[in-house]
Amino acid sequence: MQPLSFILTHAWLIPVIPLVSFLLVGLVLRPISERLAGAFATLAVGTSALLSWTLAYDYVHLAEHGKSLPSLLPWSAMWLHFQDGFGISIGTLLDPISVMLLVVVTTVSTLVHLYSTGYMHGEPGYARYFAFLNLFTFSMLGLVLAPNLVQMYVCWELVGASSFFLIGFYFEKPSAVSASKKAFIVTRFADLGFFLGILVIGFYANQIFAAMPASATQGLQPLDFAFLTRPDVLAALSGLDVHFLGVGVLTLSAVLIYTGGAGKSAMFPLHIWLPDAMEGPTPVSALIHAATMVVAGVYLVARCFPIFATSGDALTVVMCIGAFTSLFAAVIGCTQDDIKRVLAFSTLSQLGYMMFALGVASFAHPLGYSASMFHLFTHAFFKALLFLGAGSVIHAVHSNDIWHMGGLRKHMPVTHALFLIATLAIAGIYPLAGFFSKDEILAAALHSGHTVVFGVGLLVAGMTAFYMFRIYFVTFWGEPKSEHAHHAHESPWIMLGPMAFLGVLSIGAGFIPIPEWVQLPGAPVEHEGIDLAVAIPSTILAIAGIGLAWLLYGGSRDRVDSLVAKLGGVYTLIKQKFYFDELYLFVTHSIIFRFVAAPIAWFDRHVVDGAVNLSGWFTRTTGLLLGKLQTGQVQTYGSWLVSGAIAAVVVLWGVLKSGGN
């Protein structure tokens, strides 16, 4: 094998550049000039993007004929040393999925940075915004390149934190503040599962690791993916006769790790934070809450896929929850009025798609794995485009409510065209990107024998087309419904440029042979072209969805209103997102805060501290009572003295008779 190229051995540069830029922008440039800070940050991420394209190019050319792409660890260093034979290194793991995501993240991030220089122009905290974007990019890249669970977890938390700061960017707005808290806490809760998963698997992997001869574990650590996904290790793990609540170690840890992924990827029932996260600036939503961070969960499952696949049960969980989420979110998406929230629910739905795609995969039928990654790839572009388009619209209309828009296709033709492309892409219309990946997912579901899931997928495909065109029609067609909509202006080129670039990718990404490159290691190649048995029904359903949307929303609002009236309570239930937010609020505030936190605070102040004060009181009171013996009567004192002498006699008799001789 030829020596690796410079960028492959120095892949760490890609995340480090944004990190350095974050520090520079945050500490040095921000006070000097906001514009400069923004430009610098953009430039830094751009450099990373260029580097990752170069890297991807070099990496793809590593493939030898007939073989899948190699998994490389060109650089790593010990970071956290727990005990002998159990440490955590940091490094850059290069394999098909990480390289793919590297490209996606840096590309979208660069475009979002560019877009933001226009979108955020004049906002207070402009430089802060870019600093956090840089931080996010760094963390996300670190996550992507993680060669072990702990680095993944570390970066996982960091993306969570940067997401928190970006959602709460408008920190004077209470809704933004609470949305950011919610996002952080919900994902944190999920990360607890992830962390426990690491603990569980770390413990047993460490045992297995220690039992192996040193030669077999050369250069590895127990939590490295390279170790954990080795067949012999997996066999040993699944062979362990340790159960907790009837669940084996492997399944338990897989499910726990999945919990983390489910939190980040907002799977049901941890989905509640994502719609609220739309309180952040729209470019942030595009980058973090559509294209990159939220797919980290999918990425995690893909990364640990051999563990899930060996467990089997865990994969079923992934599949069921993924399928359910995709349907659930699609249903809610049909009723929302906030353009960004609709997009958020669509993101949820698409993430569910990716998840169940992984769920249906197996070593025998690895197609779902490739399909999921493929969909992740394409989705990043068109969803980012949708968000940026929405941002452009919001920028013009100063509102998120689709019912305040309307007729914008005339005022904002470029935005309209690009938005339409993205909408078609997500609806899965040939030959746009979404079609290919969605088709592959459905095919994977069908071919692996999961017909129910396949059915759900089809249904969701149709619904996706429906609700996406719903917002498209309401926003861009009809009459302007507000003063702002009348006077809307097209956005500047600094915003349109990145959108156009994404538009090109939304059209063309389907032709990039991701499934060929991204193969489940150790499984047979199962890639096939377009399967008409899947493509035809899905396209039909998509078109049906578009048609329905046209029917309902293409013209006046009356039809919708009458339909809503007919649906009645069901509609309200859906529109209120099945009252999940309220449920969570109830559980946290009314149960945990009121019945756990408040009683503990009370208990501490009154019982525990009360006991301390009581002992003080007791001391004083005893002192007072004993002091009362000082009556001032000398003869009483004399009596005490005499009785004391008598008592001494008695005690001495007792002690020396019993204890002595």
Partner: protein, 116 residues
Amino acid sequence: MAEFLTTHGLTLQHWLVLTSALFSIGLYGMLTRRNAVGVLMSLELCLNAAAVNFVLFNRYLAPTNLGGAERLDGAVMTIFVIAVAAAEVVVGMAIFVAMYAERRTVDVTRLDALKD
């Protein structure tokens, strides 16, 4: 003298009963007399009971196992006790007089300015 006592059946025990009784009466007096002078007198009883003890033990027990000057230790002690008791009474009376000048009473139960 010794023969007289022993022939009349008086043993050490009898004497000890006497001194114990004396001592107890003294104690009782000290703890119950309201008049300070009465307290002092009771004290004398106590001290004297103890002093008599020394004489008794000297008489009955000590000479049997000791020689020389120490044979008289008990009696010597008694003399010292008497002397000390006198000193004690003197001091006590001095204080009482001073007290009386100040308070116009020597009732010990009314001396309770100092207490908690």
